[in-house]
């Protein structure tokens, strides 16, 4: 058993006004492993990604818990060293390729920036590497694309550029936040295949955030199911699909369209389940508050 590369331990996060957003989340991603983070909108998936990179909005504070990368506790570092520590080891593939590339800069510096900044490469070295990366993400005419502005590329192309940029500095962990949600359905499949291919080739650990269980089954080895900021189930993907333990996981699967059983698919969660979930969350909070006041 190797040590996990990303180790989130008991992370609780809340709005400064009080509402709790993450409830003692623990997630471990081993080196080279693809871990899925599944849950409905608003469950706190993106919040976890932001907490890893230390880019939570100012209105949100970390109440407790530990985020460790490569065995080092990130909270123990001061901001400057922490950012460069993370920058060398982890990268982010954002959800929306439209807002993730700076519209007023060419593609080249947006890929080479981190090579020059993080790895200390020279300009032409970084350029050669960027060309190789664009080839790897199957962009035709990479020399031409390097000179373009983001608005001259299609959404799929931009996401390919972002994937190339994420893998550029050879990070050991990549966090992909619903990388296909903003794309056309026909492009989604290609981008997923590309991410899987790049991950396998580089052996990078991947934390894959999604609400699409079909993608989880194809791409990931382990998974955490998140509901209202609480991990309700954590298992290998095989186990998750064969024997889902938590009622919410089963409901989530029942709500996924399936080709083979069109009649049974797309069942909404029952009111009883929602009530039970609300109770579970309330119980967790009550227990947590009690513990905090006594401890």
């Amino acid at each position: 058993m190797t040590a996990p590369y990303l180790d989130i331990e008991g992370l609780s996060v809340a709005l400064r006004e009080g509402a709790r957003l993450l409830r003692r989340v623990s997630i471990k991603v081993n080196p080279g492993e693809v871990h899925a983070l599944v849950g409905e909108s608003g469950a706190g998936k993106s919040m976890i990604a932001r907490a890893v990179f230390g880019i939570l909005p100012n209105s949100i504070e970390i109440l407790e818990g530990r985020v460790a990368l490569a065995g080092e506790d990130l909270n123990a570092m001061s901001q400057g060293p922490r950012r460069s520590f993370i920058g060398k080891r982890a990268a982010f593939i954002p959800q929306d390729p439209l807002t993730a590339l700076n519209p007023s800069r060419r593609i080249e510096p947006q890929i080479t920036d981190r090579l020059i900044h993080i790895l200390g490469m020279k300009t032409n070295e970084a350029r050669a590497r960027a060309l190789a990366l664009l080839g790897e993400v199957k962009i035709a005419e990479p020399e031409r694309v390097l000179r373009l502005y983001p608005h001259e590329l299609s959404g799929g192309m931009r996401q390919r550029v972002l994937i190339a940029a994420a893998f550029a500095a050879e990070p050991r962990l990549i966090v992909a936040d619903e990388p296909t949600t903003a794309l056309d359905v026909t492009v989604q499949k290609q981008i997923l295949a590309l991410i899987a291919d790049m991950q396998a080739r580089h052996g990078t650990a991947l934390l894959f955030i999604t609400h699409n269980l079909g993608v989880v089954a194809k791409l990931c080895q382990t998974a955490s199911v998140l509901y209202a900021g609480k991990v309700v189930e954590q298992a290998s993907v095989r186990q998750l699909f064969e024997k889902p333990q938590h009622a919410y996981t089963r409901a989530l699967m029942a709500a996924t369209p399936r080709y083979d059983r069109p009649d049974e698919s797309l069942k909404p969660a029952s009111p009883e389940l929602l009530a039970a979930l609300a109770r579970e969350v309330a119980d967790t909070d009550a227990a947590w508050l009690k513990e905090r006041h006594h401890g």
């Binding site: 400057g80 807002t99 519209p103 007023s104 502005y149």
Partner: protein, 282 residues
């Protein structure tokens, strides 16, 4: 840079007309001593209040007539382009740099920096601008320099508000966050990721501000608080023409036309630039 963006550009006559007029004014300012037909300060009381060249009673060589002291109106108009453009550029740039810098700081860092800067802007904007500028110039002693300082001190808030709002919008963009997550310093992120996207708005505002600066200078000249009287300005020409409007309307009307066209050209130039860059950037 322009080559890649020029694809979707639809250019109206606005940019070329306003740019043409501003170029003409700039050339007139640079070559003023060479192209003006007379010395703008030379008085000849025998030739006072001569009408423009298309009205009976004119003298050859005085295309736009003369004022009550017999000074050539055209030469004075040309000579006055210098203080007008110096103030437009000096005050415009100074207000732009001061306001944009504070706006970037407030918008990017938020928190107490934003609170302090925004409160100062609110208070600043409550002062009547023309009155404040008159006070300031009187305090600094009237000169071109103090006019520039006064306009910059008054009008930086215009830039600060807009730049702050644009910066706040930029700050939430993924590329800004990823630059920060990458380990870049705030200042580097600000200059590389935020500023280039805020720049179009700054350029449009700058062009508007230059027009405003020309007007404020004219107002200060009109109340005799700008440059000394041995330099012709459009404002002082208007002030002189006001007294003799029934005998020699041209002394008042031509500087007004020059002022009007220049201010219009500045604002239209800004609009034209916006039109040109907006479809691609937004």
């Amino acid at each position: 840079m322009a080559d890649a963006r020029a694809i979707t550009v639809r250019t109206g006559p606005r940019l070329w007309l306003s740019g043409g007029w501003l170029t003409l004014i700039a050339l007139a300012a640079i070559f003023a001593p060479l192209i003006s037909p007379h010395d703008p300060l030379a008085q000849d009381l025998m030739l006072g209040k001569l009408p423009p060249a298309w009205i009976a009673g004119h003298e050859p060589g005085y295309l736009l007539g003369t004022d009550s002291l017999g000074r050539d109106v055209l030469s004075r108009l040309i000579s006055a382009t210098r203080p007008a453009l110096i103030v437009a550029m000096g005050a415009g740039l100074a207000a732009c740099i001061l306001g944009s810098a504070l706006g970037l700081l407030a918008g990017f860092f938020g928190g107490w920096a934003d609170r302090i800067i925004s409160r100062i802007v609110d208070i600043w904007m409550a002062f009547p601008p023309v009155l404040l500028s008159i006070l300031l110039v009187a305090f600094f002693n009237p000169s071109l320099q103090s006019v520039i300082i006064a306009i910059a001190i008054i009008d930086w808030t215009r830039f600060c508000r807009v730049v702050r709002a644009e910066t706040m919008q930029q700050r939430r963009m993924d590329y800004v966050e990823s630059a920060r997550a990458m380990g870049r310093t705030s200042l580097a992120t600000l200059f590389r990721e935020v500023l280039p996207n805020v720049l179009p708005a700054i350029i449009v505002l700058l062009s508007l501000e230059m027009g405003i600066a020309v007007i404020v200078e004219a107002i200060l000249s009109y109340v005799n608080l700008s440059v000394s009287t041995d330099q012709a300005t459009w404002g002082s020409m208007i002030a002189e023409g006001r007294g003799i409007i029934y005998q020699a309307w041209w002394v008042l009307v031509f500087p007004m036309i020059a002022l009007f066209l220049t201010v219009l050209a500045f604002s239209q130039f800004g609009e034209g630039l916006k039109e040109r860059f907006d479809p691609v950037l937004r």
